[in-house]
């Protein structure tokens, strides 16, 4: 049975409380009208369908369930997602999937700036383009972009893997293009399949960390001079 919440008449608070209290079932949300924090903090394996566009932090801190949005989303879609899935048919604004630790986020349209910022294990698939500073400080997880990436892709990236089919305007600090090995193609194939988006893995390039910024590299001229003296005396 599907429970329906019409946000034209009921509050986000009542909706979220009902979603938090549920341990199974499916929910249909109508008239979100750009409301913030819609379906944030889900913990159980429920299915949620949202008809319309949402504001900030929709499906934020998501765990286990499946959220499907038919519309566009504001900042921080599925931020800090832990598990489960979030799928949006339209575009997502800034910081989609930010700091996500697990689960799958699929954006059929474009994603704005800082998509996947500080991602920590989430997988993100974007059907369109991504904005600047995407995957900034990205720590773990895979990000797939079928379109182009704007400036400074993967700036200060750690161990996340980025797969981009289109053009990359520029790479950020310490981000480099890397070889696509068979395990990457395999992973990419899985992610494309899971997302339901159609593309050939062969068309993608992989980007990741050059690992040059991982540690400070202090000089030690004193030690060098002392060693040189030792060698000549």
């Amino acid at each position: 049975m599907t429970a329906t919440f019409d946000l034209a008449s009921s509050s986000v608070r009542d909706l979220n409380q009902a979603l938090h209290d549920a341990d199974r079932g499916s929910f249909h949300i109508a008239n979100p009208r750009g409301a913030h924090a819609v379906a944030a903090g889900i913990t159980s394996e429920i299915a949620v369908q949202i008809d319309g566009s949402v504001g900030y932090y929709c499906a934020g801190m998501h765990q286990r369930g499946a959220v499907h949005i038919y519309g566009n989303a504001g900042t921080g879609l599925a931020e800090n997602i832990m598990s489960g899935s979030v799928h949006i048919t339209g575009n997502a604004t800034m910081s989609a999937g930010a700091t996500g630790h697990g689960g799958l986020l699929v954006i059929e349209g474009n994603a704005g700036a800082r998509c996947g910022i500080s991602m920590k294990g989430v997988d993100i698939v974007v059907g369109g383009h991504v904005g600047h500073m995407t995957a900034f400080m990205a720590q773990a997880g895979d990000l797939v972009v079928l379109g182009d990436a704007a400036e400074d892709l993967g700036d200060s990236i750690y161990e996340a893997r980025l797969f981009v089919r289109g053009d990359v305007a520029s790479l950020g600090a310490d981000c480099v293009e890397k070889e696509m090995r068979p395990e990457h193609t395999e992973r990419l194939t899985q992610l494309l399949e899971a997302s339901g988006l159609d593309a050939s893995p062969a068309d993608f390039a992989r980007y990741g960390s050059a690992r040059e910024l991982y540690n400070f590299h202090p000089d030690d001229i004193d030690a060098e001079v002392a060693a040189a003296k030792g060698a000549t005396s």
Partner: protein
Amino acid sequence: MTSHQWALRESYTFDRNVIAEIRRAANTGVYRIRGFGAKRVLPTLDDLVFLGASMSRYPLEGYREACATDVIIGERTAENPVKLDIPITIAGMSFGSLSAEAKEALGRGASSVGTSTTTGDGGMTQEERGHSSILVYQYLPSRYGMNPDDLRQADAIEVVVGQGAKPGGGGMLLGQKITERVAGMRTLPEGIDQRSASRHPDWTGPDDLEIKITQLREVVDWKVPVYIKIGAARPYYDTTLAVKAGADAIVVDGMQGGTAATQDVFIEHVGIPTIAAIPEAVRALEDLGMHRDVKLIAAGGIRSGADVAKALALGADVVSIGTAALIAIGDNSPEREDEYRELGSSAGYWEDYQDGTDPAGITTQDPELSARLDPVIAGRRLANYLQVLTLEAQTLARACGKSHVHNLDTEDLAALTVEAAAMAGVPLAGTSWVPGRSDRY
């Protein structure tokens, strides 16, 4: 030596520490990173004195009459507000920067006197949750270990915008301390020199923060209060915006505030002192008619019951301590003098929290060192210390005739220096002159 020969004369501009730093920089090519807080001379709460009761004021009996110390945070919004028995909390210090034993000791000590501890940059450990009866969960720019299950276990949430030791800067944890467990909690490779983000990843200004705070409240079903922590830089505006963003409490951390690892240039040169920050934050709350409704938690260089009472008299509701709590549980103890010497320092001077070599077993992830800290004994030391701070604050409040420490106010204070009078907004002792506010001597 002839009678007209000068004694060795150290330059005030290029003293021996300045020279040592220039030489160190020339040798290594990297900036100096260290722990502890600002070491330079700064205006402090020591520059204020209490006036005490006299003919025109009536004291309470020092030992008998009640002088309450309790505080409630978040009544306006949270189903379960935070209830503190004493107005002194333990500030956010991460597992990672501190050993598990040290976190446990802080939890034990704070819990036994009815106050809270705080997680830090790196997430919550079950040990600290278990040993802290009231635990504040920090929500930081890095979001290391940020887990909604932990968020829901917290008694309050503290959104960290900044820290007194480094307003505008992000956290740091050097490779020596990124052990397997710490790396796992933060999803980072082991042994890297970790530099945390300085900006939150999914909001950029006070309007966004307001929406973020609503989301946090939604996720925890409006059960617990939300604090905002700022490094003291522009406390009037930051406090105003934090109230606007919906905070239940604002933590203002002055430039003396301790740190586990920060660039020395940040520690000594960014932010304003605690004595200057508190009055500005209070003025903002008063201008909004929110003083005492939104709670003010002051931190940065709080050491004694006198500091506690003065911070409260300036208008804070609570103070928070970091460095002093570490010292109470054994940091910089003279018993370890030989080992501090081996590290090129001395008990009372040691500041290399970033190194992971702490002989006291507090700021380390080395299991051999951390095993030296007995969390039960250390927890008792902290409880004793917190009790002394409370007793001292109460005794000062009674001497000013106050039956609750929150009844202390700026009328009870005088300043010993013109600077302190100007910053704290209280008259220079022996005058009625508040620089910048009155021209009357």
